[in-house]
């Protein structure tokens, strides 16, 4: 199976095949014989030429994983080459249209920092949400105009509820 993996700045083609040892993985032109043992849900032991690492792999969503090992953790995207092609073709258009930003967790709206019609810069706070006794600023993820604000201070929201639209 041919895949493309990406973590941070690094993007590499990967080929995965079954082999005697378990798997033969070719990453960035180097081939590894990998023995993979699933220890528990989301927890694996990886052996490569005898070198052993315990790794947890948590699926965040389709094709996106959080990988943690002794000493660090990172997010990795895995896609087949066709998906990557399709995404890059649609990507340019998708960025241009208006975008709705939703609450990422349940909470209560504390304040609106940028009303409808406000020009915002990337990283500028738009809505303040309170959850777990902490206030969190929900920010504009890009430059644009606030087209609509769907919530009012004091309102309770569920995770996934739209907060504002930026265009």
């Amino acid at each position: 199976m041919e895949l493309i993996v990406r973590s941070g700045e690094r993007e590499e083609p990967v080929r995965v095949e079954r082999s005697e040892a378990g798997y033969r993985v070719t990453l960035a032109g180097r081939t590894f014989e990998v023995d993979l043992a699933a220890v528990a849900e989301e927890l694996y032991s990886l052996r490569v030429d005898g070198a052993q690492q315990e790794v947890s792999v948590h699926r965040l969503e389709e094709g996106r994983y959080r990988v943690a090992w002794a000493g660090g953790s990172t997010e990795v995207e895995v896609a087949d080459p066709l998906t990557v092609l399709a995404r890059s073709a649609h990507g340019a258009a998708a960025v241009k249209g208006p975008r709705r930003v939703a609450a990422n967790m349940p909470g209560r709206v504390v304040a609106i920092l940028a009303a409808e019609g406000t020009e915002v810069a990337p990283g500028q706070g738009v809505v303040v949400l309170e959850a777990m006794k902490m206030e969190n600023e929900i920010q504009a993820d890009r430059a644009g105009t606030i087209r609509a604000v769907f919530v009012t201070p004091g309102q309770a929201v569920e995770g996934g509820d739209p907060l504002f639209e930026i265009g």
């Binding site: 041919e2 989301e42 094709g63 994983y65 990795v76 895995v78």
Partner: protein, 522 residues
């Protein structure tokens, strides 16, 4: 002093890790432990470990864990001899302690009057001055004229801090480094105070530059004896919230420990203190220390003191409440070795500490020599948004600080939490920080380093290489994710219902799906 009374059952008016900690202490004493729980906490660890558990209301704290009257009534109804409030919630409400006493239930903590006296900033400061406990120099009297402010400032010595009398939250506060800056700062502080609090009076205090937060654990019995159990260094704070604590402090030697201990005992005695309490001090660079406040309860970070003194604070809280005098272990409470605690919060330290609620999919605590985990959650638990996001405390002990740091690193490597984000990566980054390793700490340090991006996570680029396999740093997570994805896709393909209607071998289906995938060789 309350009449001696054997405590056979205790109701814990708290939740999470501290409820678990108290239950453990009670179990070891042979005392029955009862807990209250809110609706979302029905399946929480304290309920699972308790001898008795009673619902107290829905999720919001004021409708559950803060219902003081209902909790006291419950204690009476179930025949509990005492209530242990833990920290937070009802623990520092004098009114609640009084309510317990009135109902004939022992409040495991200090007398209500001591809670009330230490609960007021103005009152406690006055009491401390009278008792000869050092406080930050300055007056609380308003300074109505700039001339008076200038005279007071030169008497204190620069730098000074202007503060709003009605203040809080940094409003109306101005640091003044030299006499030339005073007039402008005075005007600004007054107008800001007036705008914020409707009262524009301000006072002056000595400005303590980059102090440490060092606190003394005290324990008093009901026979007039109060003992210092040494200090805890709690300078690593994020927006005034402690995140890492250790004992002893790298900045405190034998002489300073004795002097701070004596001051703390004086502070506690001034309010007629009994049971466990903590006197917090600011420690200046020149070795001077100043009373900040007293926390009249068990602290989150009490385990580091337990580990270096060998004294079980929770057990002694019960014994003291029963009227027992402090035992011989309190005669020689000198720190032995070094203990460090890190607080594990369900927050993403690299997304401005955004809360990270969710289901804990995978959880494995570190174990082995010198490691203690005080946790309030288990694998599968749902971390909700209703309460404080602290999941657990990871505490290590070793013969000295250097070895304790190594042990903390080893323990963090063993820790596995998935499904939610935690602050663990921040502690790994701290372990690589030269200032932390050297014990050069102050209360603003963590916020400064975070703002400067100095504590970046050790991600793919920093590690995760298989040694001796010819691969490069960062190969490991890429390999692992690719294999997990491959397995998942293969499994999905193997179990997918046949699309053609008729029964078909799963292997054949998998093979067909595989062959449809362009470039597939598997």
């Amino acid at each position: 002093m309350p009449a001696p009374r054997r405590i056979r059952k205790v109701l814990i008016a708290n939740r999470g890790e501290i409820a678990v900690r108290v239950l453990r202490g009670l179990r070891e004493l042979g005392v029955r432990g009862a807990v209250v729980y809110s609706e979302p906490d029905r399946k929480s660890l304290p309920v699972l470990l308790a001898d008795e558990a009673y619902p107290i209301g829905p999720a919001p704290s004021r409708e559950s864990y803060l219902r003081g009257e209902a909790i006291v009534e419950l204690a009476v109804r179930i025949g509990a001899d005492a209530i242990q409030p833990g920290y937070g919630f009802l623990s520092e409400r004098a009114e609640f302690a009084r309510l317990c006493g009135d109902a004939g239930v022992v409040f495991i903590g200090p007398p209500p009057a001591a809670i009330a006296a230490m609960g007021s900033k103005v009152e406690s400061r006055r009491l401390m001055i009278d008792a000869g406990v050092p406080v930050v120099p300055g007056g609380r009297d308003p300074l109505p004229e700039v001339e008076g402010a200038a005279a007071a400032a030169s008497e204190l010595g620069y730098p000074v801090m202007l503060k709003a009398s009605a203040g809080g939250g940094g409003k109306g506060m101005r640091q003044v480094r030299e006499p030339g800056e005073l007039a402008a700062a005075y005007r600004a502080a007054r107008s800001e105070a007036g705008a914020s609090f409707g009262d524009d009076s301000v006072y002056l205090e000595k400005y303590i530059e980059d102090p440490r937060h060092v606190e003394i654990q005290v324990m008093g019995d009901h026979h007039g004896r109060i003992v210092s159990l040494g200090e805890r260094e709690c300078s690593l704070q994020r927006r005034h919230q402690k995140v890492v604590e250790e004992a002893p402090s790298p900045a405190v030697g034998e002489d300073l420990r004795r002097r701070m201990g004596e001051a703390a005992v004086k502070a506690a005695a001034a309010v007629g203190y009994a049971n466990a309490g903590t006197v917090e001090f600011l420690l200046a660079k020149d070795g001077a220390f100043y009373f900040l406040e007293m926390n009249t309860r068990l602290q989150v970070e009490h385990p580091v003191t337990e580990l270096v003194t060998g004294i079980d604070l929770v057990a002694w809280q019960v014994r003291v409440a029963e009227g027992e005098p402090l035992g011989p272990e309190f005669d020689r409470a000198h720190p032995r070795g070094h203990a460090i605690e890190v607080r594990l919060y369900a927050e993403d330290p690299y997304r401005r500490f955004a809360p990270s609620p969710g289901r804990i999919a995978l959880l494995r605590w570190p174990q082995g020599p010198g490691v203690r985990v005080d946790a309030g959650v288990i694998a599968g638990a749902e971390v909700t948004i209703h309460y404080d996001p602290m999941l657990a405390k990871l505490i290590v002990w070793a013969a000295d600080r250097e070895r304790a740091l190594a042990r903390l690193g080893r323990a963090l490597d063993e820790l596995r939490v998935e499904g939610i984000r935690t602050t663990a990566p921040l502690y790994r980054a701290l372990l690589a920080d030269a200032d932390f390793r050297a014990g050069r700490l102050d209360i603003g340090m963590l916020d400064r380093k975070l703002a400067a991006g100095e504590l970046a996570p050790s991600g793919a680029a920093a590690g995760g290489a298989f040694q001796g396999t010819g691969g490069e740093a960062g190969d490991l997570p890429l390999l692992a994710a690719a294999l997990a994805h491959f397995d998942r896709v293969s499994r999905t393909a193997a179990t997918a219902p046949p699309s053609g209607g008729g029964r078909r071998s799963r292997w054949a289906t998998a093979g067909r799906l595989g062959s449809l995938r362009p470039g597939s060789r598997s």
